[in-house]
Every structure is written in C-alpha cells, then in structure tokens.
C-alpha cells in the first residue's frame, strides 16, 4: 500500500528502503539466516502483536523448529585468564568429562520434549488451517447458492 501511495511523495524514500529491506529479508529467510534460537526468543512478545498475520505465525513456527534443539555436542574449553591457563583448562575438561554423561542424558530428553511440542503445535496449526479452508469454501458455496436464489 505504502509503495503505491508514496511513489513520489515525501514518504517515497522510506517506502523504498522498507521494500528493499523486505526483499533482502525474504531472501535471507530462505537461506536460513534467521534460523537462530536468539531470533525465536526475541520474537516471543511479537506473537501477540501479529496474531492476525498468517505469514508471521508460519515464520515463527519455522524459527521455533530451527531453534528447538539444544546443542549438546562437545565444545571448545577455553580460559581467558593467562595465569595457570593450561592447568585451568585441564581441570575444566576433567569436570566436563565427569558431567557429560548426566547433562547429555538430561538435554537429550529435553530435546525430545521440545521436538514433540513443536510437532504438536505444527499439527494443530495445520489442522486449524485446513478446517478454516474447508469452512471458507463452504461459506463461499452457500453465498453462491443464496445469490442464485435471489430474484
């Protein structure tokens, strides 16, 4: 809408920048640039604001799907303090090797739960969408019939 109204007015530059950014965003979304747990977390309060926007809920579900699994792989253990760094790193590694088994078990269970929850939400979303589509088709059919009956 803005693009049409503000083609030559004072809002033209702003509308152009927004349109240009939206194109970039669409492309980067397809490339998975926002498949990031931090993005999903940041969007939590935006859900209510755009609850009527169908494309937003689809985007959010994608974010959620990408962010749902906790990274439980090994990671590089570092030490910022220069003094005794090798010793501290060895100590941290030893602690991690002792804890790994328990945390792995804990997080893999958490990942299972998260994954099941997202699958459940996606299934509900899909079901609701199908139901709405069926109802819309039915309403359209009824309106058509009423239109035919009218003198």
């Amino acid at each position: 809408m803005a693009d049409e109204i503000f083609e030559a007015g004072p809002g033209a530059e702003a509308a152009r920048v927004v349109a240009d950014v939206r194109e970039t965003v669409e492309r980067k979304m397809r490339e998975g640039a926002y498949a990031d747990a931090r993005v999903a977390a940041a969007e939590r309060t935006n859900l209510v604001r755009l609850s009527t926007d169908e494309s937003f809920s689809a985007y959010y579900l994608r974010c959620l799907r990408d962010a749902v699994y906790v990274d439980i792989s090994d990671f590089e253990i570092r030490e910022r303090r220069a003094r005794f760094a090798p010793l501290l790193v060895r100590m941290k590694k030893a602690i991690w090797s002792l804890l790994k088994f328990y945390t792995y078990r804990l997080w893999s269970q958490q990942n299972q739960v998260n994954g099941l929850l997202v699958t459940g939400i996606e299934a509900i979303d899909e079901k609701t969408e199908q139901r709405i589509r069926r109802l819309e088709a039915r309403v359209a059919e009824l309106e058509k019939r009423l239109g035919e009956r009218a003198p």
């Binding site: 004072p10 920048v17 939206r22 969007e43």
Partner: protein, 399 residues
C-alpha cells in the same frame, strides 16, 4: 492565534489535569488544546477530578477552582462509592475478550472513575459553555459527562484498537456526541470500523508541538557514552512494546556483534540488561538532547492514537523505527517519510543496520521529519483545525 469567533466559552473535561509531567499523552493533549484556546481569547474552564493516580483514583487534590496561567482549572472529587473490586473483575474479563454482558459493561463504567459533582456542575452550568470537549474515551467521567449536553459535546477519544473499544457502551458514546476530534486518520478509520459512520463524525486535529533546537552530541558527551544508541521515551510496559524492544536489541547485539545501547526515559519497569541506560524522568531539554543524539527513535507500540514522542524525535531530526502493526505510528512515518517500519525481528535487524551505517539516509529522513512536524503540527495549523472542527456545524442546544 485565531480571533474569537462564534465560540466564546469552552469547557474541557478530563479525568486528570496534567499539572506535572507524570500523566499520559491524552491528558497533555487536552491541557494543551485548552491552553491554546484560552490564549486565543476564549473563556476556558478545565473540569477535572481531584485524583492524581490512575491506579487508585484517590482524591489527593483539594476540590475547588484554581488558575493555571490562562486556564481556570476546576477540581471535583471522585465518587467515593465506586466498587473497585467489581470494576477490576469486569475489566479483567474485558481484557481477556471474554465477552461481557451489557449489564457488566454498564457496571464497569459505573465503577470506573466518576464524579457526580463534576456532572452536576455540567448540568447546572452547561448553558455557560458553547462547546464541551471531553476525553479520553474509556473513563466513566468522560462517558457520563458526554451524555449531559451531547449536542455540544466533542470527544477527543485517543482511541486504540484494544478490548475496551469494542464495548457496546462505547458505540453509544461515539454516536451520542456531536463529533470527535481525532488525532490521526487511522484513529478515525478505526472509529468508523467499530462504530459506523455515525460514530466517526469529526475532523483530524492532533496536537501542536513547539519546535526546539537540541545538540546531538550533548547527551553522549555529558554521559561519557562512546557507543551509538537508540532511544525510547514514555511509559515502559508491555502495551507499549518495551519488552519487545529490549529483546530485539539483545538479539541484535548478539547476532551482529555491534555495541549499541538503548537509552530510555519515562516511567515504568524495564529489564535491566547491561546495554540499557535508564534515565527515568528527565527534563524536556534533556529528553530532546537524548532524542537528537540517537541513531533512531524506536517506538514498538501498536496502541497509539497520535505518537507525541515519535513526533518530538522527528523535531529533533532523528528518524523513527516503528512496528508495522501500529497503524498510527506507521502512518506518521509513511506520511512524513521520516521513519521506517518493521514487522518482525529480521526486518528490525536489517533496518537498524541500514540506519546505523547510512549517514545520508539518516540525515535525509531526519530532515523530512523536522519539516513534517513544523508543517503539520505547528500550533497555528492545529488551532485552525481545532476551531474548524468545533465551528463546522452549529449544534442545537438540547434545552
């Protein structure tokens, strides 16, 4: 200033009088319109309650008439017999969009902030006033006062797309008054959508803003702040979108590795993250300096009827970055060409990167914003629209 025309005497009705800086935008707007009308030579009485807090509505100010500059402010006590518990229970149901009955709607407004003394004054002395200007829409005082002399009452609704706006008693209010003085076209469109053409009579008036000069480097220099920052001013609450702003900035810093700060002024709680600089209440001059030095003024609220702080940031030469779901703020940005709008985090990230990296873009948006506010919201222009709206059709006195 306009010369006095057919309208010689005006009453303004508002639940609170904005004597200090701690009230909302609607109260400020009504006070400023009243002051301007008084300076333009009209007799103006500002009728309000003795309450200061919009949470307790306790009578904290001595009743009676006092002068504040050109204005006569008359304070009336809030009714002591309001059932706050019932009011809050029904309000909770309305807020959850639970679908309340007409009887509950009436009980809700009856137990909202009301003043029989104020209404009695309007009944007895209403004939003295050529026009009665009331607002905002969702308070008992406004609702009741509007029923007394509806044919010469004008509502300044400050309407948002919120559950209260959908009540049937609000349809009655908007249709009862002679007309509305809207703050923006999207606000008028919302009234038309909710209450039909009969509830959206009136003109878009808005509020005037005085131009100011502010040094963009003053705040950062005083604070010793080397990092760039974005600013927000006003109430901090979820309805205004401040939690979203903090979450977005947090993600932005983590994902882009840029050290950008958020400077906030105003009241209300805010998540105390290390990058948030909470200045609390500041003077107007300090607020303007903060706005002028910001890379962008971010206003994520979707429930505004005007957007005073956004327009102030335009006057400071700072571009706005607003939520696309907020019809009014987006309208201000589109119309002025002084701001950009985001739908979700990815838009926000890309737009903020542009604003941070492109000095020319920022300067051009900033210049447009300043011109826009000086043109559209100069007091002379607003006064003209205000009196045009009040004089457009001579209301009949209901006797």
């Amino acid at each position: 200033m306009s010369a006095p025309g057919a309208i010689q005497s005006l009453a303004f009705v508002c639940p609170r009088y904005a004597a200090g800086g701690t009230v909302g935008g609607a109260e400020t707007l009504l006070r400023e319109l009243a002051r301007r009308a008084a300076r333009a030579g009209r007799r103006v009485a500002f009728l309000t309650t003795c309450a200061k807090s919009h949470f307790t509505w306790a009578n904290e100010i001595e009743p009676g008439a006092r002068r504040d500059g050109d204005l006569e402010v008359r304070y009336f006590p809030v009714d002591a017999d309001r059932d706050a518990e019932r009011f809050l229970r029904i309000q909770g149901e309305i807020d959850r969009r639970a679908g309340v009955s007409r009887a509950d709607e009436e009980a809700w407004i009856a137990n909202s902030v009301n003043s029989r003394a104020l209404c009695d004054h309007l009944r007895e002395r209403g004939g003295d006033y050529d026009r009665i200007v009331l607002g905002p829409y969702l308070f008992g005082v406004t609702w009741r006062a509007a029923q007394i002399h509806p044919s010469k009452s004008f509502l300044v609704p400050c309407l948002h797309d919120e559950p209260f706006a959908y009540l049937s008693i609000m349809t009655d209010l908007f249709r009862a008054v002679h007309g509305c003085l809207f703050n923006s076209e999207p606000e008028r469109d919302l009234a038309a959508r909710l209450y039909g053409a009969g509830g959206a009579r009136g003109l878009v008036v808005g509020m005037g803003l005085d131009p100011f000069e502010a040094d963009p480097s003053a705040y950062a220099a005083r604070r010793g702040l080397a990092a760039p920052y974005v600013a927000y001013a006003g109430r901090r609450e979820s309805a205004k979108g401040t939690p979203l702003l903090v979450d977005y900035l947090d993600a932005f810093r983590a994902r882009t590795g840029r050290d950008i700060r958020l400077v906030v002024t105003g009241s209300g709680p805010i998540d105390a993250r290390p990058f948030v600089i909470d200045e609390g209440f500041v003077s107007e001059a300090d607020k303007h300096a903060i706005m002028a030095g910001a890379r962008a003024f971010v206003h994520p609220s979707v429930m505004e009827s005007f957007g005073i702080v956004l327009l102030e940031s335009f006057l400071a030469g700072t571009p706005g970055l607003v939520h696309a779901g907020g019809a009014v703020l987006r309208w201000q940005c589109e119309r002025s060409g002084a701001g950009l709008w985001f739908r979700h985090y990815p838009d926000f990230e890309e737009l903020l990167v542009r604003l941070l990296d492109d000095d020319a873009l920022r300067a051009s948006l900033g210049a447009r914003g300043r011109d826009y506010v000086r043109r559209e919201y100069a007091w002379d222009a607003v006064e003209r629209r205000f009196f045009q709206a009040l004089e457009e059709e001579s209301p009949k006195d209901e006797g």
